[in-house]
Protein backbone atom coordinates (compact mmCIF):
# COMPACT_ATOMS: atom_id res chain seq x y z
CA UNK A 1 0.00 0.00 0.00
CA UNK A 2 2.56 2.56 1.13
CA UNK A 3 4.87 1.45 -1.60
CA UNK A 4 2.25 2.07 -4.27
CA UNK A 5 1.48 5.37 -2.64
CA UNK A 6 5.15 6.32 -2.82
CA UNK A 7 5.34 5.31 -6.48
CA UNK A 8 2.26 7.31 -7.37
CA UNK A 9 3.56 10.29 -5.45
CA UNK A 10 6.88 10.05 -7.16
CA UNK A 11 5.18 9.78 -10.54
CA UNK A 12 3.11 12.92 -9.96
CA UNK A 13 6.07 14.85 -8.50
CA UNK A 14 8.18 13.85 -11.47
CA UNK A 15 5.44 15.05 -13.84
CA UNK A 16 5.32 18.43 -12.15
CA UNK A 17 9.09 18.99 -12.16
CA UNK A 18 10.31 21.87 -14.32
CA UNK A 19 12.26 20.78 -17.37
CA UNK A 20 14.74 22.81 -19.33
CA UNK A 21 12.76 22.98 -22.62
CA UNK A 22 10.15 24.90 -20.68
CA UNK A 23 12.52 27.85 -20.63
CA UNK A 24 12.49 28.08 -24.44
CA UNK A 25 9.19 29.90 -24.99
CA UNK A 26 10.04 32.39 -22.25
CA UNK A 27 13.48 32.99 -23.68
CA UNK A 28 11.84 33.57 -27.05
CA UNK A 29 9.43 36.06 -25.51
CA UNK A 30 12.29 37.98 -23.86
CA UNK A 31 14.46 37.74 -26.97
CA UNK A 32 11.66 39.16 -29.13
CA UNK A 33 11.77 42.32 -27.04
CA UNK A 34 15.38 42.98 -28.05
CA UNK A 35 15.60 41.40 -31.50
CA UNK A 36 12.39 42.63 -33.17
CA UNK A 37 11.44 45.83 -31.31
CA UNK A 38 9.47 47.01 -34.35
CA UNK A 39 7.09 44.09 -34.02
CA UNK A 40 6.15 44.50 -30.37
CA UNK A 41 2.62 45.63 -31.23
CA UNK A 42 2.12 42.28 -32.96
CA UNK A 43 3.99 40.62 -30.11
CA UNK A 44 1.54 42.06 -27.59
CA UNK A 45 -1.40 40.71 -29.57
CA UNK A 46 0.30 37.30 -29.72
CA UNK A 47 0.84 37.29 -25.95
CA UNK A 48 -2.83 38.21 -25.40
CA UNK A 49 -3.91 35.42 -27.75
CA UNK A 50 -1.67 32.98 -25.86
CA UNK A 51 -3.47 33.82 -22.61
CA UNK A 52 -6.79 33.26 -24.38
CA UNK A 53 -5.65 29.94 -25.88
CA UNK A 54 -4.22 28.87 -22.52
CA UNK A 55 -7.62 29.47 -20.91
CA UNK A 56 -9.22 27.28 -23.58
CA UNK A 57 -6.65 24.54 -22.98
CA UNK A 58 -7.73 24.33 -19.34
CA UNK A 59 -11.27 23.33 -20.28
CA UNK A 60 -10.69 21.62 -23.62
CA UNK A 61 -7.32 19.95 -23.18
CA UNK A 62 -7.74 18.93 -19.56
CA UNK A 63 -11.46 18.74 -18.77
CA UNK A 64 -12.52 17.76 -22.31
CA UNK A 65 -15.21 20.42 -22.65
CA UNK A 66 -15.69 21.11 -26.36
CA UNK A 67 -16.85 24.67 -26.90
CA UNK A 68 -17.51 26.79 -29.95
CA UNK A 69 -18.23 29.90 -27.92
CA UNK A 70 -15.20 30.70 -25.81
CA UNK A 71 -15.09 34.21 -27.27
CA UNK A 72 -18.11 34.95 -25.04
CA UNK A 73 -15.80 35.39 -22.06
CA UNK A 74 -13.01 37.11 -23.96
CA UNK A 75 -15.61 39.58 -25.21
CA UNK A 76 -17.24 39.98 -21.81
CA UNK A 77 -13.85 40.92 -20.36
CA UNK A 78 -13.04 43.26 -23.24
CA UNK A 79 -16.36 45.10 -22.96
CA UNK A 80 -16.15 45.23 -19.14
CA UNK A 81 -12.70 46.80 -19.19
CA UNK A 82 -13.60 49.08 -22.08
CA UNK A 83 -16.85 50.33 -20.55
CA UNK A 84 -15.20 50.89 -17.19
CA UNK A 85 -12.94 53.40 -18.89
CA UNK A 86 -15.30 54.81 -21.52
CA UNK A 87 -18.31 55.33 -19.24
CA UNK A 88 -16.94 55.56 -15.71
CA UNK A 89 -13.59 57.14 -16.51
CA UNK A 90 -11.53 54.51 -14.67
CA UNK A 91 -8.40 53.74 -16.68
CA UNK A 92 -5.97 52.22 -14.20
CA UNK A 93 -4.65 49.31 -16.33
CA UNK A 94 -4.16 46.56 -13.74
CA UNK A 95 -7.46 46.92 -11.91
CA UNK A 96 -9.37 47.52 -15.14
CA UNK A 97 -7.93 44.31 -16.56
CA UNK A 98 -8.80 42.41 -13.38
CA UNK A 99 -12.33 43.81 -13.64
CA UNK A 100 -12.49 42.26 -17.11
CA UNK A 101 -11.39 38.97 -15.57
CA UNK A 102 -14.05 39.16 -12.88
CA UNK A 103 -16.84 39.86 -15.36
CA UNK A 104 -15.56 37.12 -17.68
CA UNK A 105 -15.45 34.71 -14.75
CA UNK A 106 -18.93 35.70 -13.64
CA UNK A 107 -20.29 35.11 -17.14
CA UNK A 108 -18.48 31.77 -17.17
CA UNK A 109 -19.88 30.75 -13.80
CA UNK A 110 -23.49 31.57 -14.70
CA UNK A 111 -23.44 30.03 -18.19
CA UNK A 112 -21.29 27.10 -17.08
CA UNK A 113 -23.64 26.28 -14.21
CA UNK A 114 -26.49 25.91 -16.68
CA UNK A 115 -24.72 24.57 -19.77
CA UNK A 116 -22.34 22.00 -18.31
CA UNK A 117 -25.24 19.68 -17.53
CA UNK A 118 -25.37 18.98 -21.27
CA UNK A 119 -22.85 17.28 -23.51
CA UNK A 120 -22.01 16.33 -27.06
CA UNK A 121 -23.70 18.19 -29.87
CA UNK A 122 -26.16 19.87 -27.50
CA UNK A 123 -23.34 21.43 -25.49
CA UNK A 124 -21.59 22.46 -28.69
CA UNK A 125 -24.74 24.20 -29.91
CA UNK A 126 -25.42 25.80 -26.53
CA UNK A 127 -21.93 27.29 -26.23
CA UNK A 128 -22.12 28.51 -29.82
CA UNK A 129 -25.52 30.14 -29.45
CA UNK A 130 -24.71 31.62 -26.04
CA UNK A 131 -21.77 33.49 -27.52
CA UNK A 132 -23.84 34.69 -30.48
CA UNK A 133 -26.65 35.73 -28.14
CA UNK A 134 -24.15 37.84 -26.21
CA UNK A 135 -22.93 39.35 -29.47
CA UNK A 136 -26.51 40.22 -30.46
CA UNK A 137 -27.11 41.70 -27.01
CA UNK A 138 -24.00 43.85 -27.33
CA UNK A 139 -25.21 44.89 -30.77
CA UNK A 140 -28.62 45.91 -29.43
CA UNK A 141 -27.31 47.69 -26.30
CA UNK A 142 -25.86 50.45 -28.45
CA UNK A 143 -25.89 53.11 -25.72
CA UNK A 144 -23.51 51.06 -23.63
CA UNK A 145 -21.41 49.16 -26.11
CA UNK A 146 -21.42 51.46 -29.13
CA UNK A 147 -23.17 48.66 -31.05
CA UNK A 148 -21.95 47.98 -34.54
CA UNK A 149 -19.67 51.05 -34.57
CA UNK A 150 -17.68 49.81 -31.61
CA UNK A 151 -16.87 51.20 -28.20
CA UNK A 152 -14.72 54.31 -28.36
CA UNK A 153 -13.36 56.68 -25.72
CA UNK A 154 -11.25 54.15 -23.82
CA UNK A 155 -8.34 55.94 -22.19
CA UNK A 156 -5.80 54.02 -20.14
CA UNK A 157 -3.61 55.65 -17.48
CA UNK A 158 0.15 55.09 -17.27
CA UNK A 159 1.10 51.71 -15.83
CA UNK A 160 1.79 51.91 -12.06
CA UNK A 161 1.34 55.65 -12.42
CA UNK A 162 4.76 56.07 -14.03
CA UNK A 163 5.30 54.05 -17.22
CA UNK A 164 3.52 55.76 -20.04
CA UNK A 165 2.71 54.10 -23.34
CA UNK A 166 5.28 54.58 -26.02
CA UNK A 167 4.81 54.47 -29.74
CA UNK A 168 6.35 50.99 -30.09
CA UNK A 169 4.30 49.42 -27.34
CA UNK A 170 7.26 48.35 -25.20
CA UNK A 171 5.47 49.06 -21.93
CA UNK A 172 2.41 47.17 -22.94
CA UNK A 173 4.39 44.20 -24.21
CA UNK A 174 6.10 43.87 -20.82
CA UNK A 175 2.81 44.23 -18.98
CA UNK A 176 1.15 41.54 -21.12
CA UNK A 177 4.10 39.17 -20.66
CA UNK A 178 3.93 39.54 -16.86
CA UNK A 179 0.20 38.80 -16.96
CA UNK A 180 0.88 35.76 -19.17
CA UNK A 181 3.47 34.51 -16.70
CA UNK A 182 1.02 34.79 -13.80
CA UNK A 183 -1.74 33.07 -15.80
CA UNK A 184 0.64 30.32 -16.83
CA UNK A 185 1.78 29.67 -13.26
CA UNK A 186 -1.85 29.49 -12.16
CA UNK A 187 -2.67 27.07 -14.99
CA UNK A 188 0.40 24.93 -14.35
CA UNK A 189 -0.39 24.68 -10.66
CA UNK A 190 -4.00 23.73 -11.40
CA UNK A 191 -3.26 20.98 -13.90
CA UNK A 192 -0.74 19.31 -11.61
CA UNK A 193 -2.98 19.53 -8.54
CA UNK A 194 -5.33 16.77 -7.39
CA UNK A 195 -8.15 18.92 -8.77
CA UNK A 196 -6.43 19.07 -12.16
CA UNK A 197 -5.93 15.29 -12.25
CA UNK A 198 -9.61 14.78 -11.48
CA UNK A 199 -10.45 16.90 -14.52
CA UNK A 200 -8.35 14.61 -16.69
CA UNK A 201 -10.27 11.73 -15.13
CA UNK A 202 -13.56 13.34 -16.09
CA UNK A 203 -12.31 13.77 -19.63
CA UNK A 204 -11.21 10.17 -19.81
CA UNK A 205 -14.18 8.44 -18.23
CA UNK A 206 -16.93 10.49 -16.73
CA UNK A 207 -18.98 7.49 -15.52
CA UNK A 208 -16.09 6.16 -13.49
CA UNK A 209 -15.48 9.57 -11.94
CA UNK A 210 -19.14 9.67 -10.96
CA UNK A 211 -18.63 6.19 -9.58
CA UNK A 212 -15.72 7.12 -7.33
CA UNK A 213 -17.76 9.99 -5.98
CA UNK A 214 -16.23 12.98 -7.76
CA UNK A 215 -18.63 15.93 -7.83
CA UNK A 216 -18.33 16.15 -11.61
CA UNK A 217 -20.61 19.09 -12.27
CA UNK A 218 -19.01 21.18 -9.52
CA UNK A 219 -15.50 20.43 -10.81
CA UNK A 220 -16.45 21.32 -14.36
CA UNK A 221 -18.13 24.57 -13.33
CA UNK A 222 -15.06 25.48 -11.26
CA UNK A 223 -12.57 25.00 -14.09
CA UNK A 224 -14.97 26.64 -16.55
CA UNK A 225 -15.18 29.70 -14.31
CA UNK A 226 -11.40 29.89 -13.91
CA UNK A 227 -10.96 29.51 -17.66
CA UNK A 228 -13.57 32.17 -18.39
CA UNK A 229 -11.90 34.55 -15.95
CA UNK A 230 -8.58 34.01 -17.69
CA UNK A 231 -10.25 34.62 -21.05
CA UNK A 232 -11.76 37.78 -19.53
CA UNK A 233 -8.29 38.94 -18.48
CA UNK A 234 -7.09 38.40 -22.06
CA UNK A 235 -10.11 40.38 -23.27
CA UNK A 236 -9.34 43.18 -20.82
CA UNK A 237 -5.76 43.37 -22.04
CA UNK A 238 -7.04 43.39 -25.60
CA UNK A 239 -9.37 46.34 -24.90
CA UNK A 240 -6.59 48.28 -23.18
CA UNK A 241 -3.97 47.64 -25.84
CA UNK A 242 -6.29 48.64 -28.71
CA UNK A 243 -8.29 51.33 -26.84
CA UNK A 244 -11.18 50.13 -28.97
CA UNK A 245 -13.67 47.26 -28.72
CA UNK A 246 -15.92 46.01 -31.53
CA UNK A 247 -18.51 43.23 -31.74
CA UNK A 248 -15.78 41.12 -33.28
CA UNK A 249 -14.49 40.23 -29.78
CA UNK A 250 -17.60 38.08 -29.28
CA UNK A 251 -17.72 36.59 -32.76
CA UNK A 252 -17.89 32.97 -33.78
CA UNK A 253 -14.73 33.42 -35.80
CA UNK A 254 -12.82 34.45 -32.66
CA UNK A 255 -14.05 31.30 -30.90
CA UNK A 256 -13.03 29.27 -33.93
CA UNK A 257 -9.60 30.85 -34.35
CA UNK A 258 -8.58 30.30 -30.73
CA UNK A 259 -9.61 26.66 -31.12
CA UNK A 260 -7.53 26.34 -34.28
CA UNK A 261 -4.49 27.95 -32.62
CA UNK A 262 -4.68 25.61 -29.66
CA UNK A 263 -5.14 22.47 -31.74
CA UNK A 264 -2.31 23.53 -34.02
CA UNK A 265 0.06 23.69 -31.05
CA UNK A 266 -1.41 20.70 -29.24
CA UNK A 267 -4.09 20.42 -26.57
CA UNK A 268 -3.63 19.36 -22.96
CA UNK A 269 -0.01 20.42 -22.68
CA UNK A 270 -0.16 24.17 -21.81
CA UNK A 271 2.73 25.03 -24.15
CA UNK A 272 0.59 24.08 -27.12
CA UNK A 273 -1.13 27.44 -26.64
CA UNK A 274 2.25 29.22 -26.97
CA UNK A 275 3.44 27.40 -30.06
CA UNK A 276 0.11 27.27 -31.91
CA UNK A 277 -0.66 30.94 -31.32
CA UNK A 278 2.80 32.17 -32.26
CA UNK A 279 2.88 30.07 -35.44
CA UNK A 280 -0.67 31.01 -36.46
CA UNK A 281 -0.33 34.74 -35.87
CA UNK A 282 3.13 35.11 -37.38
CA UNK A 283 2.07 33.21 -40.50
CA UNK A 284 -1.12 35.24 -40.68
CA UNK A 285 0.79 38.49 -40.42
CA UNK A 286 3.16 37.48 -43.22
CA UNK A 287 0.87 35.56 -45.57
CA UNK A 288 -2.32 37.59 -45.29
CA UNK A 289 -0.32 40.58 -46.53
CA UNK A 290 0.54 38.69 -49.70
CA UNK A 291 -2.88 37.21 -50.35
CA UNK A 292 -5.75 36.74 -47.88
CA UNK A 293 -7.18 33.84 -49.91
CA UNK A 294 -3.86 32.05 -49.94
CA UNK A 295 -3.65 32.39 -46.17
CA UNK A 296 -7.21 31.21 -45.62
CA UNK A 297 -6.75 28.22 -47.90
CA UNK A 298 -3.44 27.39 -46.26
CA UNK A 299 -4.77 27.48 -42.72
CA UNK A 300 -7.74 25.33 -43.76
CA UNK A 301 -5.45 22.79 -45.37
CA UNK A 302 -3.13 22.83 -42.36
CA UNK A 303 -6.09 22.17 -40.08
CA UNK A 304 -7.24 19.20 -42.17
CA UNK A 305 -3.73 17.76 -42.21
CA UNK A 306 -3.31 18.27 -38.46
CA UNK A 307 -6.63 16.57 -37.69
CA UNK A 308 -5.92 13.61 -39.96
CA UNK A 309 -2.24 13.03 -39.31
CA UNK A 310 -0.95 15.10 -36.39
CA UNK A 311 -3.83 14.97 -34.00
CA UNK A 312 -1.57 15.93 -31.09
CA UNK A 313 -0.52 19.18 -32.70
CA UNK A 314 2.94 20.52 -33.56
CA UNK A 315 4.31 19.76 -30.10
CA UNK A 316 2.92 16.24 -30.24
CA UNK A 317 4.54 15.75 -33.64
CA UNK A 318 7.87 16.97 -32.27
CA UNK A 319 7.56 14.55 -29.38
CA UNK A 320 6.84 11.63 -31.72
CA UNK A 321 9.85 12.58 -33.80
CA UNK A 322 12.10 12.52 -30.74
CA UNK A 323 10.72 9.18 -29.59
CA UNK A 324 11.28 7.66 -33.02
CA UNK A 325 14.87 8.89 -33.13
CA UNK A 326 15.92 7.51 -29.78
Amino acid sequence: MTEHYQTARHFLRERERWRWPEALPWLAIVAAFFIVPDYLALGTQIVIAIIFALSLDLILGYAGIITLGHAAYFGAGAYATGMLSAHLGWGEPISAMLFGGIIGGLAGFISGWVLLRYHGLTLLMLTLTTAILMQETANAAEEWTGGFDGLVGISIWPLLGTFDYDLWGKTYYCFAVVVLLVCFLVARTIVHSAFGRSLVGIKGNVERMHGVGTPVHGRLVTIYTISAAMAGVAGGLFAESNAYVTLDVLSFSRSGVVLIMLVLGGTGRLYGAFVGTAVYMTLEDELAKLSPEFWEFGIGLLLVVVVLFFRRGLLGALEDLRVRRS
Binding site: M125, L126, S253, G300
Partner: protein, 290 residues
Amino acid sequence: MGQVANAAIVILFDGVAYGMLLFIMSVGLSITMGLMGFVNLAHGGFAMAGGYVLVSLMVGLGVPFIAALVLAAVFVAVLSIPFERYLYRRLYEADELDHVLLSIGLVLMATAAITFIYGPSAVSITVPDYLNGQVDLGFGTFPAYRTFTIGVGGLLILGLWYGFEGTIIGAKIRAAVDNRRMAQSIGINVDRLFVIAFALGSGLAALGGGLAIEIIGMEPTFALTYLVFFLIVVAVGGLGSIRGAFVAALLLGLIDTAGKYLWPDGGAFFIYAVTITILLIRPLGLFGRA
Protein backbone atom coordinates in the same frame (compact mmCIF):
# COMPACT_ATOMS: atom_id res chain seq x y z
CA MET B 1 -56.42 47.14 -40.07
CA GLY B 2 -55.83 46.30 -43.71
CA GLN B 3 -52.22 47.35 -43.36
CA VAL B 4 -51.64 45.16 -40.35
CA ALA B 5 -53.20 42.16 -42.10
CA ASN B 6 -51.10 42.87 -45.19
CA ALA B 7 -47.92 43.07 -43.15
CA ALA B 8 -48.83 39.83 -41.40
CA ILE B 9 -49.35 38.10 -44.74
CA VAL B 10 -46.04 39.40 -46.09
CA ILE B 11 -44.18 38.21 -42.98
CA LEU B 12 -45.93 34.85 -43.09
CA PHE B 13 -45.24 34.34 -46.78
CA ASP B 14 -41.62 35.49 -46.70
CA GLY B 15 -41.06 33.54 -43.52
CA VAL B 16 -42.41 30.32 -45.02
CA ALA B 17 -40.33 30.80 -48.19
CA TYR B 18 -37.20 31.42 -46.15
CA GLY B 19 -38.01 28.47 -43.90
CA MET B 20 -38.43 26.21 -46.94
CA LEU B 21 -35.07 27.36 -48.25
CA LEU B 22 -33.44 26.58 -44.89
CA PHE B 23 -35.16 23.20 -44.87
CA ILE B 24 -33.85 22.28 -48.32
CA MET B 25 -30.34 23.32 -47.37
CA SER B 26 -30.22 21.65 -43.96
CA VAL B 27 -32.29 18.48 -44.22
CA GLY B 28 -29.30 16.65 -45.67
CA LEU B 29 -27.21 17.68 -42.69
CA SER B 30 -29.86 16.33 -40.34
CA ILE B 31 -29.87 12.96 -42.11
CA THR B 32 -26.08 12.63 -42.21
CA MET B 33 -25.62 13.80 -38.63
CA GLY B 34 -28.31 11.40 -37.46
CA LEU B 35 -26.88 8.56 -39.51
CA MET B 36 -23.15 8.99 -39.07
CA GLY B 37 -23.02 11.19 -36.00
CA PHE B 38 -20.67 13.51 -37.84
CA VAL B 39 -20.83 17.18 -36.86
CA ASN B 40 -20.29 18.56 -40.35
CA LEU B 41 -19.71 22.30 -40.22
CA ALA B 42 -18.82 22.19 -43.92
CA HIS B 43 -22.34 21.32 -45.04
CA GLY B 44 -22.89 24.95 -46.07
CA GLY B 45 -19.87 24.56 -48.32
CA PHE B 46 -21.84 22.13 -50.50
CA ALA B 47 -24.76 24.57 -50.60
CA MET B 48 -22.35 27.30 -51.64
CA ALA B 49 -20.79 25.04 -54.28
CA GLY B 50 -24.29 24.46 -55.67
CA GLY B 51 -24.90 28.18 -55.93
CA TYR B 52 -21.65 28.86 -57.73
CA VAL B 53 -21.97 25.89 -60.09
CA LEU B 54 -25.43 27.21 -60.99
CA VAL B 55 -23.94 30.62 -61.75
CA SER B 56 -21.27 29.06 -63.95
CA LEU B 57 -23.79 26.94 -65.81
CA MET B 58 -26.18 29.82 -66.44
CA VAL B 59 -23.78 32.66 -67.08
CA GLY B 60 -20.95 30.69 -68.64
CA LEU B 61 -22.76 28.02 -70.63
CA GLY B 62 -26.23 29.56 -71.00
CA VAL B 63 -28.04 26.60 -69.44
CA PRO B 64 -31.67 27.47 -68.56
CA PHE B 65 -32.47 28.02 -64.88
CA ILE B 66 -34.38 24.84 -63.99
CA ALA B 67 -31.97 22.57 -65.85
CA ALA B 68 -28.99 24.33 -64.26
CA LEU B 69 -30.56 23.90 -60.83
CA VAL B 70 -30.89 20.15 -61.29
CA LEU B 71 -27.46 19.80 -62.90
CA ALA B 72 -25.79 21.74 -60.10
CA ALA B 73 -27.41 19.50 -57.48
CA VAL B 74 -26.31 16.32 -59.30
CA PHE B 75 -22.82 17.69 -59.87
CA VAL B 76 -22.30 18.57 -56.21
CA ALA B 77 -23.80 15.27 -55.06
CA VAL B 78 -21.21 13.39 -57.14
CA LEU B 79 -18.47 15.78 -56.07
CA SER B 80 -19.24 15.13 -52.42
CA ILE B 81 -18.69 11.36 -52.64
CA PRO B 82 -14.87 11.48 -52.53
CA PHE B 83 -15.11 13.79 -49.51
CA GLU B 84 -17.12 11.16 -47.66
CA ARG B 85 -14.95 8.27 -48.84
CA TYR B 86 -11.54 9.77 -48.17
CA LEU B 87 -11.98 12.41 -45.47
CA TYR B 88 -15.13 12.14 -43.36
CA ARG B 89 -15.03 8.36 -43.16
CA ARG B 90 -11.68 8.36 -41.42
CA LEU B 91 -13.13 10.25 -38.50
CA TYR B 92 -16.47 8.53 -37.84
CA GLU B 93 -15.04 6.97 -34.71
CA ALA B 94 -13.35 10.18 -33.54
CA ASP B 95 -14.99 12.69 -31.21
CA GLU B 96 -16.91 15.84 -32.07
CA LEU B 97 -13.85 18.06 -31.74
CA ASP B 98 -12.15 16.29 -34.65
CA HIS B 99 -15.31 16.58 -36.76
CA VAL B 100 -15.54 20.29 -36.01
CA LEU B 101 -11.89 20.91 -36.83
CA LEU B 102 -11.83 18.93 -40.06
CA SER B 103 -14.98 20.56 -41.34
CA ILE B 104 -13.89 24.08 -40.32
CA GLY B 105 -10.70 23.43 -42.28
CA LEU B 106 -12.76 22.41 -45.31
CA VAL B 107 -15.00 25.49 -45.03
CA LEU B 108 -11.97 27.78 -44.92
CA MET B 109 -10.53 26.09 -48.00
CA ALA B 110 -13.84 26.29 -49.85
CA THR B 111 -14.27 29.96 -48.98
CA ALA B 112 -10.76 30.78 -50.17
CA ALA B 113 -11.11 28.74 -53.36
CA ILE B 114 -14.43 30.37 -54.26
CA THR B 115 -13.03 33.84 -53.56
CA PHE B 116 -10.06 33.05 -55.75
CA ILE B 117 -12.19 31.80 -58.66
CA TYR B 118 -15.24 34.07 -58.51
CA GLY B 119 -14.01 37.10 -56.59
CA PRO B 120 -15.11 38.34 -53.18
CA SER B 121 -18.35 40.11 -54.14
CA ALA B 122 -21.84 38.65 -54.38
CA VAL B 123 -22.86 36.94 -57.63
CA SER B 124 -26.21 37.18 -59.33
CA ILE B 125 -28.23 35.39 -61.99
CA THR B 126 -31.10 36.36 -64.26
CA VAL B 127 -34.08 34.22 -63.45
CA PRO B 128 -36.53 33.39 -66.28
CA ASP B 129 -39.48 35.74 -66.80
CA TYR B 130 -42.07 33.36 -65.39
CA LEU B 131 -40.30 33.50 -62.03
CA ASN B 132 -40.12 37.28 -62.02
CA GLY B 133 -42.81 39.54 -60.69
CA GLN B 134 -46.00 38.43 -58.99
CA VAL B 135 -48.19 35.40 -59.34
CA ASP B 136 -51.93 35.23 -58.59
CA LEU B 137 -52.74 32.26 -56.38
CA GLY B 138 -56.46 32.96 -56.19
CA PHE B 139 -56.43 34.28 -52.65
CA GLY B 140 -53.88 37.00 -53.35
CA THR B 141 -50.82 37.84 -55.43
CA PHE B 142 -47.39 36.74 -54.25
CA PRO B 143 -43.80 37.04 -55.48
CA ALA B 144 -43.40 34.31 -58.09
CA TYR B 145 -39.89 33.27 -57.10
CA ARG B 146 -40.76 32.71 -53.46
CA THR B 147 -43.88 30.80 -54.48
CA PHE B 148 -41.66 28.62 -56.66
CA THR B 149 -39.29 28.00 -53.73
CA ILE B 150 -42.15 26.99 -51.47
CA GLY B 151 -43.39 24.66 -54.21
CA VAL B 152 -39.96 23.04 -54.61
CA GLY B 153 -39.73 22.62 -50.84
CA GLY B 154 -43.19 21.05 -50.73
CA LEU B 155 -42.31 18.60 -53.50
CA LEU B 156 -39.09 17.68 -51.75
CA ILE B 157 -40.90 16.98 -48.52
CA LEU B 158 -43.28 14.64 -50.35
CA GLY B 159 -40.37 13.00 -52.13
CA LEU B 160 -38.32 12.56 -48.97
CA TRP B 161 -41.34 11.33 -47.06
CA TYR B 162 -42.02 8.70 -49.69
CA GLY B 163 -38.34 7.86 -50.01
CA PHE B 164 -37.91 7.30 -46.30
CA GLU B 165 -41.24 5.72 -45.47
CA GLY B 166 -42.02 3.87 -48.68
CA THR B 167 -38.78 2.44 -50.03
CA ILE B 168 -36.39 -0.25 -48.84
CA ILE B 169 -33.40 2.09 -48.90
CA GLY B 170 -35.33 4.57 -46.77
CA ALA B 171 -36.20 1.86 -44.27
CA LYS B 172 -32.54 0.86 -44.14
CA ILE B 173 -31.48 4.44 -43.47
CA ARG B 174 -34.08 4.78 -40.72
CA ALA B 175 -32.89 1.52 -39.20
CA ALA B 176 -29.28 2.70 -39.26
CA VAL B 177 -30.19 6.05 -37.70
CA ASP B 178 -31.95 4.27 -34.85
CA ASN B 179 -29.26 1.70 -34.21
CA ARG B 180 -26.29 1.46 -36.49
CA ARG B 181 -24.74 -1.67 -35.01
CA MET B 182 -28.02 -3.54 -35.03
CA ALA B 183 -28.61 -2.56 -38.64
CA GLN B 184 -25.13 -3.74 -39.53
CA SER B 185 -25.57 -7.06 -37.82
CA ILE B 186 -28.73 -7.91 -39.75
CA GLY B 187 -26.76 -7.47 -42.94
CA ILE B 188 -27.47 -3.89 -43.98
CA ASN B 189 -24.49 -2.41 -45.80
CA VAL B 190 -24.18 0.71 -43.64
CA ASP B 191 -21.09 1.89 -45.48
CA ARG B 192 -23.04 2.16 -48.69
CA LEU B 193 -25.89 3.93 -46.92
CA PHE B 194 -23.41 6.52 -45.70
CA VAL B 195 -22.32 7.31 -49.25
CA ILE B 196 -25.90 7.51 -50.51
CA ALA B 197 -27.08 9.67 -47.64
CA PHE B 198 -24.08 11.95 -47.85
CA ALA B 199 -24.42 12.46 -51.60
CA LEU B 200 -28.17 13.00 -51.27
CA GLY B 201 -27.68 15.51 -48.46
CA SER B 202 -24.99 17.42 -50.34
CA GLY B 203 -27.09 17.44 -53.50
CA LEU B 204 -30.07 18.85 -51.64
CA ALA B 205 -27.83 21.46 -50.04
CA ALA B 206 -26.60 22.41 -53.51
CA LEU B 207 -30.17 22.70 -54.77
CA GLY B 208 -30.92 24.99 -51.83
CA GLY B 209 -27.77 26.98 -52.55
CA GLY B 210 -28.94 27.50 -56.12
CA LEU B 211 -32.36 28.65 -54.99
CA ALA B 212 -30.81 30.88 -52.33
CA ILE B 213 -29.03 33.22 -54.77
CA GLU B 214 -32.22 35.16 -55.49
CA ILE B 215 -33.50 35.17 -51.90
CA ILE B 216 -30.60 35.62 -49.51
CA GLY B 217 -27.73 36.20 -51.94
CA MET B 218 -24.57 34.24 -52.62
CA GLU B 219 -21.03 35.25 -51.75
CA PRO B 220 -17.90 33.39 -50.60
CA THR B 221 -18.77 33.88 -46.92
CA PHE B 222 -22.12 32.11 -47.42
CA ALA B 223 -21.00 28.79 -45.91
CA LEU B 224 -19.79 30.41 -42.71
CA THR B 225 -22.61 32.95 -42.44
CA TYR B 226 -25.40 30.38 -42.61
CA LEU B 227 -23.52 27.61 -40.83
CA VAL B 228 -25.09 28.51 -37.51
CA PHE B 229 -28.58 28.46 -39.04
CA PHE B 230 -28.10 24.98 -40.50
CA LEU B 231 -26.86 23.71 -37.18
CA ILE B 232 -29.80 25.30 -35.37
CA VAL B 233 -32.26 23.62 -37.75
CA VAL B 234 -30.64 20.25 -37.14
CA ALA B 235 -30.21 20.58 -33.37
CA VAL B 236 -33.62 22.10 -32.69
CA GLY B 237 -35.38 19.67 -35.02
CA GLY B 238 -33.57 16.64 -33.68
CA LEU B 239 -30.86 14.63 -35.41
CA GLY B 240 -32.01 12.47 -38.29
CA SER B 241 -35.61 13.68 -38.16
CA ILE B 242 -36.95 15.06 -41.43
CA ARG B 243 -40.13 16.20 -39.74
CA GLY B 244 -38.02 17.89 -37.06
CA ALA B 245 -35.86 19.66 -39.63
CA PHE B 246 -38.99 20.87 -41.42
CA VAL B 247 -40.64 22.25 -38.26
CA ALA B 248 -37.40 23.83 -37.04
CA ALA B 249 -36.63 25.41 -40.42
CA LEU B 250 -40.11 26.85 -40.69
CA LEU B 251 -39.95 28.17 -37.12
CA LEU B 252 -36.54 29.70 -37.78
CA GLY B 253 -37.66 31.25 -41.06
CA LEU B 254 -40.78 32.77 -39.52
CA ILE B 255 -39.08 34.08 -36.37
CA ASP B 256 -36.16 35.54 -38.29
CA THR B 257 -38.39 37.22 -40.87
CA ALA B 258 -40.79 38.57 -38.23
CA GLY B 259 -37.90 39.77 -36.10
CA LYS B 260 -36.28 41.61 -38.99
CA TYR B 261 -39.55 43.33 -39.95
CA LEU B 262 -40.70 44.24 -36.47
CA TRP B 263 -37.44 44.93 -34.66
CA PRO B 264 -34.69 45.49 -37.23
CA ASP B 265 -31.98 46.38 -34.69
CA GLY B 266 -32.21 43.32 -32.52
CA GLY B 267 -34.20 40.93 -34.65
CA ALA B 268 -31.60 38.16 -34.72
CA PHE B 269 -31.67 38.11 -30.92
CA PHE B 270 -34.95 36.14 -30.87
CA ILE B 271 -33.63 33.18 -32.83
CA TYR B 272 -30.78 32.50 -30.49
CA ALA B 273 -32.88 33.04 -27.38
CA VAL B 274 -35.52 30.61 -28.70
CA THR B 275 -32.85 28.09 -29.74
CA ILE B 276 -31.21 28.11 -26.32
CA THR B 277 -34.57 27.79 -24.57
CA ILE B 278 -35.62 24.82 -26.71
CA LEU B 279 -32.28 23.06 -26.29
CA LEU B 280 -32.26 23.59 -22.53
CA ILE B 281 -35.71 22.02 -22.24
CA ARG B 282 -35.27 19.39 -24.95
CA PRO B 283 -31.54 18.67 -25.35
CA LEU B 284 -32.22 16.22 -28.20
CA GLY B 285 -34.34 18.71 -30.12
CA LEU B 286 -38.08 18.80 -30.75
CA PHE B 287 -38.27 15.43 -32.51
CA GLY B 288 -34.98 13.89 -31.44
CA ARG B 289 -34.70 10.44 -29.94
CA ALA B 290 -31.99 9.09 -27.71
